[in-house]
Symmetry: C2
Subunit: 464 residues, 2 copies
């Protein structure tokens, strides 16, 4: 009997989908956990899209009809088969730490909560195989004793799941060395379940695994991932304060470009953003711009050597401590920089940018001149296609959608590319305004009816 | 008593230097090993300069007057003091695997053989401190059980010493990831002894350690080095065969630029060079150009994925085995590529180049068109200042010095920079035709009389 069967109340409004039939199907054999409690539906149909006032308005009323929590791949297959049979949308949900509503069910239906599929399947030197619902922090905790760690993680490492990261993320701490998730070699394999009446489980190895990367679960339900690991290092958290942002960028770039300096994070952050870094506030001098870093212990002396000719001073330096109960430095980088300010001031939002790597300082100077206090810049160094580049995650004082789009146009006029985080589709959120051709083609194979996370891959039109 | 005192024969020719007084000084207290046996003098005044017919002619008669082999830094200090007192040149000698006569005593005097100072002082995670005479292979053998290895090594790893590598080398296997020896962070510290009547031992840390990098021992006698280590990886040796060299370059570059693929070596090599790779000849198909690689085990599948769209085929793939008695794959890369051909054909020589990273394929095509069979190209991918670049070590069918200089001019016309390996001075061998200003200034402090390896730093003029 379904464990939460008691929660199934008579549904008074007209059902969008034949849920009773669906539940009867998946409940028939075993004990698949599900809920349709309104508070559950509300809480588990959301992610951190509220960073965007535009998405916040657009997505706030989107609700699943039922949340289903499979324990294993067999249950995933049964759920997928029932969704196919009754033409019910299915939207996979990981840790729900994303910012674009990637796990918000635009057309309702089933939200597939992967939290219970969190097993570490195996570890070998340099690689790990996990179920998609494993949390990044737990994976690191499991691999570190063997001398390895995930190559990269978002600032939401403590709650994000690996499946969600691969399905929606692009990179994070570690990408300054290994590049983003989409660089060849950063996903070894993915196992997916198709959305068909007779679902198939497919192993995608090597380049084929990229078919599920940043596809929001539209190209198959990810059940397992095989990820490459980095040798675990003794990381030193460091904060360096500078008089102005351009100096912070120059120093950050010199560290980013120094291949002899082992690093996981190089994040120049403009004042007044550090004003909101509560846990590290005493190390953030008033009015100063920062570079936050995670530096290999053996490289710390060289890091300080590169700082010598510049007018920067180290205000914090300590071994990285990622134990629960402590706020890690990395929770002030990537989109946590934005979050730290949002905690105090809900009137701000953010953008996602790629600064031109060959005129980084010029572009940052132009942006500062164009927008003044309305934009607070924040960069993350990251390798892209073998070149050291800088992502930007500026925090914006929000006035209106129109003004936000003016600001986007302004950034673009400065030569900064924008991946708009105020949209829900893969295409609109891409720097290239299109979805990967491989992914679109693959979707036809694995989700012919277009039931997986519908509305996210705009280019896809199911056959009638 | 000096152990080799019996070898001191009456020296019949007129002595250039007051050797008897020198030997009396260093023999006074302890037991410093030395020899002036003619066969020793001849054998231990040379390196692999004979790769260059020009240097071969120029250096073949250069001889030390005495070879001294210190056991510890105290002995180095006594030898240095005696050299200063009697104004005798001192040229440090490591494994003598260099190709520019860096340890050839142009003005005779003392050759300081560092072979007995080969102790591993200590290891910590990510770093090692060693005496300058430690062999690279021995350092790796000592650090691997602790999970680490040297970040980079030349193809002469089995006989090269760390002091000589730092004093004369530029990079090697590993530089495709960590860049060359001169990148910040790749030398943590160096301890040197000055050439003065009261020699000082100086610890150079961080950037200061670069004062002895590629200075041929002209800026102090290196006694100890603290080197950063890389986590030891399970490396896979791989050979990929291509129809033409341009395809090999394209594939090599795609691997070099893929930051998600862990690698230590990416070496495109033009046919007929592989014809001379005796130990791997059966894996080198007739007429095919190769890419030799050392790839992290966990990245091998991704490596093969990137090969799929290209017309290349893997002819060899096996875990790297660096045990003595086997010929390692890396002994076919860097300047061992040249050596393998020289073993069969002493009529060839080589150049050292930096190809333009943004028009690598064009430059290689132009070189091929300009010189045909006279030049056999060979590239080594290496990071320089944070950018993935390609060194070239082409093998040249030698005709005359004049023709060699025409070829150099031809390469330069194709946009390829040359670091001429047919010269003995630091300045002439530099891509920039000058010695580092820091090194020149530092030399005044540590070798005011210009007795350290005289003739190698052309810009230095001792005070009268």
């Amino acid at each position: 009997m379904p464990r939460q069967a008691a929660a199934l109340k008579p549904i008074e409004k007209v059902q969008r989908y034949p849920l009773d039939a669906f539940l009867a199907d998946i409940g028939d054999i075993g004990d698949i956990e599900w809920t349709s409690e309104p508070t559950d539906l509300k809480r588990r149909s959301r992610d951190f899209f509220w960073y965007s006032p535009i998405l916040s308005e657009q997505l706030k009323d989107k609700l699943a009809d039922v949340i289903v929590t499979p324990k294993d791949e067999n249950e995933v297959i049964r759920i997928a088969a029932a969704c196919a049979r009754y033409r019910i949308p299915l939207t996979p949900r990981g840790g729900a730490t994303g910012n674009y509503g990637q796990c918000v069910p635009l057309e309702g239906g089933v939200v597939l909560d992967m939290a219970a599929m969190n097993r570490i399947e195996w570890q070998k030197p340099g690689r790990v195989r996990v179920q998609a619902g494993a949390k990044l922090w737990d994976i690191d905790a499991a691999t570190r004793p063997h001398g390895f760690e995930l190559r990269m993680h978002p600032s939401t490492k403590r709650s994000a799941q690996i499946g969600g990261f691969v399905a929606g993320g692009s990179g994070g701490a570690g990408s300054v060395t290994f590049g983003g998730m989409r660089e060849p070699g950063n996903i070894l394999a993915a196992r997916i379940v198709t959305l068909e009446e007779r679902p198939r489980a497919i192993e995608l190895r090597g380049d084929a695994a990229q078919k599920i990367s940043r596809a929001y679960g539209t190209t198959g339900i990810i059940t397992e991932l095989e990820m490459p690991l980095a040798p675990a290092q003794a990381w030193i958290d460091v904060i360096v304060a500078f008089e102005d942002f351009i100096e912070a960028i120059r120093f950050g770039r010199s560290i980013a470009m120094a291949d002899g300096i082992v690093k996981k994070l190089v994040s120049p952050i403009e004042w007044p953003l550090p004003q909101h870094f509560a846990a590290f506030r005493s190390f953030c001098p008033e009015g100063k711009c920062l570079v936050l870093g995670m530096i290999g212990d053996m490289s710390m002396e060289s890091f300080e050597t590169l700082l010598e000719p510049l007018r920067g001073s180290i205000t914090y330096k300590a071994p990285a401590d990622d134990s629960l109960g402590k706020v890690p430095l990395y929770e002030h980088t990537w989109n946590h920089t934005t979050l730290q300010m949002l905690k105090a001031d809900r009137s701000v939002t953010y953008l996602q940018c790629l600064y031109p790597h060959d005129r980084l300082v010029d572009a940052a100077t132009e942006v500062a001149k164009m927008f003044g206090d309305e934009v607070m810049q924040h960069l993350e160094f990251i390798r892209i296609n073998g070149v050291m580049a800088a992502n930007g995650i500026p925090v914006i004082r929000y006035r209106s959608p129109e003004r936000l789009y003016e600001i986007i146009a302004g950034f673009e006029a400065c030569g900064v590319m924008i991946a708009n985080p105020h949209v829900v589709t893969l295409e609109d959120g891409s720097r290239y305004k299109r979805v990967d051709a491989d992914q679109l083609g693959f979707k036809r194979e694995v989700d012919p009816m277009g039931l997986l996370n519908p509305g996210k891959m705009r280019s896809f039109v199911p056959h009638q």
